[in-house]
């Protein structure tokens, strides 16, 4: 990287102030997530349950609720929120498109088709645990297909072609999904409960499944934070600065997709987190990915923990689908965002 380019991005170093604010938000969200729930427990009991060491069989009911149900749910919401926000930020950088979200290239529709096909056609002997695996593979396959299709076109290095390929793949998969569902009405309940999200049922095992992919993706994407800043200068500029644009783009898409696929396979397709969190951070802190990426993880985690807290307490002991909460906040925000971006365009 030339000195000039270095100078252009150096002013955007992650400020400690923002990091502290974000971490405080996350800590507050986690504390609230642990303290409130369908079963009201005094804070002292929650704390005692968390630090208590009795073996599972002998635990009192409160401890079971705190350790086996509430804690994994809060952690999974945080992990999924962080992953989706990070992947969303990466996609927005890669495609230089503010409306990009982690599902842009078909990660969500691929997962839905995978799950739908597994639910409708898997032999009865297979357990329902095969569904997340199918969703994960479907998600990866859909994005891979979009990338291959996008690159096969002659002008294949442009992001527009890739996005259009993703749109085509997503439309095709949605059609397949609708067809299979229509042929298997009896399975529709299970399919929709899968798509709508299952933060509340995944437990520790779900957390363990997502974590490795999330870590790999986070490391890869964070290592490329400078590249994303350079990419935002435009492809030609980036290439002239010695960045292998196509290769960097592929690596970032692969990493973001891996994490998104794992999150979707376990927690369902949760909308808006991947768009609104990175944009909020961008609006507040400025445009550098060296700030946006790490803060997206932290704020995304805090946001989804709080959204899930609302989902499970607003009408307790009943639940609201988490997608309703994120969309209720996300949709108005989206409108504001669109208005702003139009102002910018003018």
């Amino acid at each position: 990287m030339t000195d000039e380019a270095a100078a252009r991005v150096a002013s955007h170093r992650l400020r400690a102030r923002w990091l502290v604010v974000a971490l405080a938000m996350l800590a507050l969200a986690m504390a609230a997530g642990m303290l409130f729930g369908a079963k009201s427990l005094p804070p002292s009991d929650v704390l005692r349950s968390l630090v208590g060491s009795s073996s599972h069989g002998k635990q009192p009911l409160d401890a079971v609720i705190v350790r086996s149900i509430r804690l994994p749910r809060v952690l999974l919401a945080g992990l999924v929120g962080g992953v989706l926000a990070l992947a969303g930020a990466a996609y927005q950088g890669v495609f230089a498109n503010p409306l990009a979200d982690p599902y842009l290239l078909g990660a969500a529709s691929g997962a839905e088709v995978g799950a739908t096909i597994a639910i409708a056609y898997a032999p009865a002997a297979w357990s329902v645990n095969s569904v997340p695996v199918a969703a994960f593979l479907g998600s990866i396959a859909a994005v891979a297909a979009a990338v291959v299709l996008g690159r096969s076109v002659r002008a294949g290095r442009s992001t527009t072609v890739l996005i259009l390929a993703g749109v085509a793949i997503a439309a095709f998969l949605t059609a397949v999904e609708t067809y299979v569902q229509q042929q298997h009405q009896a399975a529709i309940r299970l399919i929709y409960s899968f798509i709508l999200g299952r933060l509340g049922t995944a437990g520790w095992s779900g957390l363990k499944l997502v974590l490795p992919y999330a870590l790999v993706a986070a490391i890869v994407i964070l290592l490329h934070r400078r590249h994303l800043d350079v990419l935002s200068l435009g492809d030609d500029e980036a290439a002239s600065l010695g960045i292998r644009v196509a290769r960097v783009r592929l690596i970032l898409v692969a990493a973001a997709t891996l994490a998104t696929a794992a999150a979707v396979a376990i927690a369902g397709t949760i909308a808006f987190v991947g768009i609104i969190v990175p944009h909020t951070i961008r609006l507040i802190t400025g445009g550098s990915y060296r700030t946006i990426l790490p803060l997206s993880i932290i704020v995304g985690a805090a946001f989804l923990i709080l959204a899930d807290l609302v989902a499970r307490t607003a009408v307790a002991p009943a639940e609201l689908p988490i997608g309703v909460i994120t969309a209720l906040i996300g949709a108005p925000f989206f409108v504001v965002l669109l208005r702003r971006s139009r102002v910018v365009a003018q």
Partner: protein
Amino acid sequence: MSRKIFIIAIVLFAATACAAKKTPVAPTPTPSAAAVAYPQQITTSAGLVTIPKKPERIISLSATATQMVFAVGAGRQVVAVDQYSTYPTNAPRTKLSGFQPNIEAITGYRPDLVLIESDQGGLVKSMNALHVPVLVLPAAKDLSGTYDQINELGRVTSHVDGAQRLVSNMRHEIAQIVTSVPKASNLSIYHELDQTYYTATSATFIGQIYKMFGLTDIADKAGLTKNSGYPQLSSEYIVSADPQLIVLADTVCCKQTKASVAARPGWSKIAAVQHDEVIPVDDSLASQWGPRIVDYVRLVAGVVTHAESVYKAT
């Protein structure tokens, strides 16, 4: 983005699809045992339906309506039923669907009466344009709703006697089964509709069956009519409510078993799991409101009797 909201809407709908909608059945003019006169006029939720003559080519696109029609003795007048009408087994099952009705395929059977659960895709309007009456028979809200629908089908198909006999047999049998079981001493129950903890309160059709046995539905805390009586509960609440009976009405749709329930985080603490009072049932038996509900009531009676003895011993 609107698609996500659409999906949410669909799911909320699906969760309440079997929700009770009050059937505005016409005031029953104490039908005499005499032959029925045609044309008949029936007031339904979809408006006034005129049955010009005794139907001889009935199509049923609702599994429950199929059971009712056969049970009142009008089975011979049925020419086609949908793919989910698996009972009785001799019903003329076809590929027809009540969810995505294909007007042309339906018309191909030259029906003179179509029975459906809900008016999907403007079926009523389309069939009326072809002068084929359509009777919408939505999920009954309670047993008397079931009896009303059976009597209505009896009148429409000219099997008034059969319908009356069926209803009085059902009433009698259910009363007998319920009284044969001592009122449950406040046993609590959780009726599971899917593995994300959608359930039914005691305001629903199935919930009222449990109520007859004196069972306490843990979903009632969520508000009787929350989500039309089919709320989604949190795992945390279910574990802390500690139900003594768990009925799994998601064994077919969602492949849930005693083992998968016991393996859920924290659920091994629940009384029903510890005392092996987790009862897998056939999803469709637990979601239909037809004559076979008597079988379900009998099943519940057995479950309650067993649970009573188990919990009394502890």
